[in-house]
Structures are given as C-alpha cells and as structure tokens.
Amino acid sequence: MYSSNRRSLHLLMPWLVLAVLLTVWQLSVVVFEIPSFILPSPVAIYHAFQEYRPIILHHASLTMMNTMIGFGFGVIVGVLLGIFIGTIPMVYSGLYPVLIGFNSIPKVALVPIIVLWLGIGQPTAIATAFILCFFPIAVNVATGLATVEPEVEDVLRSLGASKIDLIRKIGLPRAMPFFFASLKISITLAFVGTVIAETIASNDGIGYLMMQASSQFRVPLMFAGVAVIAALGILTYVIFAFIEKRMTGWAIRGKK
C-alpha cells in the first residue's frame, strides 16, 4: 500500500508543481494588477486559447509536422553518421572534431543561409529542425558502438564474424540505450529548430503565429502559443521515453 501510494504521488508531482505555479502566477497578476499586455494571467491565456483555438491548432499541427519530418531526417542521418563514426576509427578522428565545431555554431545564425537556399516556409523549418537534432543522435550512437568490450569482439571474431556481423550482433544492440536517450534530447531540439525558423522565415506555424501576435500586441495569444509548444514538447518526450523503456529494459536491469 505504502509503495503504491508513493508511486501515485510521484506521478502526481508534476501536476502539483504546475498547479502551484499557475496559481501563484494568477494571484500575482491579480494582486499586483499587472496589465495583460505585459504578463497575461493563466486564465486570460486560456481564454485566448479558446478564442483562437482553430488558428492555434492549425499552426500547431504545421509546427508538429515540420518538427517530425526534420526529426525523421535527423534520426536517419544521425544513425548512419553515428554508425560511420563509431565503427571506423579513421572516420572518427577525421569527422568528430568537424562535427564538434559545427555543433558549436548557434543554429539561429544558419537560418538566414538556409532561407537563401530553400526560401521562406516549410522546407526551411524542416531543415532547421534537422540541423539542430541530428548531432546528439550521431554522437550517442557512435559512443555506443565505440564502447563495445574488446573481449566480446574477440569471441565473435574468432568464430569468423565479419565487421557487419559485429555491428549487427553487438554494436547496434549495445548502442540502443544511447540511441533512445538521444531521441529524447533530439525531439525537443527539433521543436526549437522549427519554431526558430518559423519566427524568422515562415508564413505559418506556431513561431509565425507568435510573431504575428507580437506585432499586434496580442500578448495572451503569444503565451497560448508558448504553452502549446511546451505541451507538444512534453507529449513527444513522453512518447519516446515510453518507447525507450520498452526497447531497452535490459540496460536498466529491469528496474521499474
């Protein structure tokens, strides 16, 4: 009984924290009479959400779609790149420093360049999401592959295993926990990428909607947009955390 109570309390905690946060926010706005064009109250944001629901949902779904496409490319490229770097030492020494360098560029700085190549709109958002999210996947997959115990490799090699066999039988399964851990990071980064691109160069998506709302001083609508992005981010994170748990239970030794 005790443990199941504790468990449900753990599940309840995030909601509790959110509720307290929103209450404090609401009270502060009311008590200090903060005008809604500076900081709208949660209730006002909710009203804005209700009022503009079709528009918000339309833009949110576009953002979600762009994010997912960019993320999809990120996964494909990230995994391939990770396998490449993780299994061929020469590629590792050649490509790794370059990737680190590339990753330290603030990606916002790249958006104008991408716009130059792909124009304003969806392709730019997808490309930005992709550029932000493939790096953690590549690095994690490479790390998983590169840290295979040499003794396990020896056992398989003395059976006549080829390089491909080694990757398939031990490298990739071993890299799975690393891969799923990186998915959780990457999906949130993909959202960041999409929204950045939408605010700079797009005619739709949540980012665009917020820029519009900003220029028209519709502050509650902006906050509604932020809330929707946060909700989408959490939702996708939860989905990938769930898949991770299902796929790589062995890595956490079956702990519940």
Partner: protein, 265 residues
C-alpha cells in the same frame, strides 16, 4: 595422434620495433583432443598467446599452425571464454548460448530452418552445466558462477575443434571454481575437443590438463613442459594425492625461480 596446434619459435612484439617483446621463441605442440594448460607469472604473455593462436593478433616472427594450416587471420570456428563472462545483457540465456550459431557456417545457414534442433542442443548443454530452468533469464539476473557456466556453453555450442580458455574461473570463489573444474572435465571427456587453458592457478592446471606448459617472465617463452599422467576422471580427492601435490609443487618452484631471476635481472 597428430599435432593440432603447433607454435615454432614464435615472437610477438607490441608497438613495432623497439616495443615491448611479449613472446620470444615460443615453441609448443598440442595434439588433437588434448587438454593443454599454460601457466606462468603474470605478464608473461599468456593472454597474447591466446590471441596469436586464434589469429586475432599476427605474430612478429615464427610460425603458428592450427590443424595443418598456417594461421594468417582470425580462425573461423574457435570457442573462446574469458575471465569476464561477456554474455550480452540484452539477450536471454538461451539466445546468448546460441549466438555462435548465428555466425559460424554451416549452422548460420541452417539456423532458421532447423531452429528447434539447435534450441534442443543449447538446452542440453545448459542442462549439462546445471542451468536448466534459466534459459529465459537475462545474464544479469544470474550469479557470476552461473554466468561463467553459460559462457562455457556458448563457447561449445558450435562443436569447436579448438577451445581457448583465458582464466575462465579466475573471478570466481574457490568452491565454485573447483565445482566448475569438474563440469568442464565432464564435457571435455565427452566431446574431446582440443583445449588450451591459460591460468595462474596451478591446481586448476594440474586438475584439468594432460600437459602443462610453464612460461617465463617477459619476454614469455616455454621453459618447461609437464605431462600430467593422473587417471581421469579426476576428482577433488585427486588433488590431495601425493603425485598431484608433487606436480603442483614442482611447477610452483619453477615459477618461483623465474620470478627471482627476473627480479635479479
């Protein structure tokens, strides 16, 4: 009986010219179906020997032959077990044991269609080492001794002609270790695969082997060969017989002498 594994004045140097000389002028010849043990002070290149014979590391000089063929790359069908059980944590015990079948021909090609037959074989092996009922467990749910038994099964599932053991019982407690000597001897007596066991436990060597090679400190080289003529199956009682104690004692003295010489040098 013919020689199955032969080493002729084999040298191994790590790190190119001027690097560490791990083995120098090593000679060995192990007959088919024979159980050989290699003992020596630590750092004498025992583990390097494993890698040389299996072709994982090329020798710097000399010739190594296995089954009449000169070793020039990794062999195709060796069973190997190390001190660390190295079972794959994402696979259950049964599929861990069956892993070599997914690599070695002709099993690799037959596995899909004759799966049941192979599963039976793996279960049989697990039963021999007293692990029936644990087939569907993950390795990390088992004790170190149980993992090491499963590791032995994995090394044997494909009926290797050559079994290479590198201190397989080194990390186990004395009781489990002695128990597994018996298990290994039983399997070996039934299947008679050629075995090379690297160990620093002289009693283990004397219990299991037909022939014991004693190696010198770095650079490693065979300085003595002992035939163990004790009848099989040997039991723990055997280890208290005068002949057994005599063999262990002789080798102990040889190794003590090597250590002294290398310290003096």
């Amino acid at each position: 009986m013919s020689d199955f594994v032969t080493l002729e004045s084999v040298d191994l140097q790590y790190g190119g010219k001027g690097g560490v000389l791990a083995l120098s002028g090593t000679d060995m010849s192990i007959r088919k179906g024979e159980f050989a043990a290699v003992v020596g002070p630590s750092g004498c290149g025992k583990s390097s020997l494993m890698k040389l014979v299996t072709g994982l590391t090329p020798s710097t000089a000399g010739q190594i032959k296995v089954d009449g063929q000169t070793v020039s790359g990794p062999l195709k069908c060796v069973g190997m077990a190390f001190q660390n059980p190295t079972l794959l944590p994402w696979r259950k015990l049964l599929s861990n044991v069956m892993l070599p079948l997914e690599i070695v021909q002709p099993h690799r090609g037959r596995l899909m269609r004759h799966r049941q037959e192979y599963v039976e074989k793996a279960r049989g092996l697990l039963k021999m080492v007293d692990l029936q009922g644990f087939e569907e467990r993950h390795p990390w749910e088992l004790s170190g001794g149980m993992q090491q038994r499963a590791n032995l099964c994995r090394a044997l599932i494909h009926n290797p002609d050559l079994l290479m053991l590198d201190e397989p019982f080194g990390a186990l407690d004395a009781f489990t270790r002695e128990e597994l000597w018996g298990v290994l001897q039983d399997i070996w007596m039934e299947k008679r695969f050629t075995t090379i066991l690297v160990t620093h436990d002289l009693r283990e060597a004397a219990y299991l082997a037909d022939v014991i090679y004693v190696m010198s400190a770095r650079p490693g080289r065979v300085i003595a060969t002992h035939r163990v003529d004790l009848p099989r199956p040997r039991t723990l009682e055997t280890t208290f017989e005068p002949r057994f104690i005599e063999i262990v004692h002789t080798i102990r003295n040889e190794i003590a002498q090597i250590r002294e010489e290398s310290r003096a040098a």
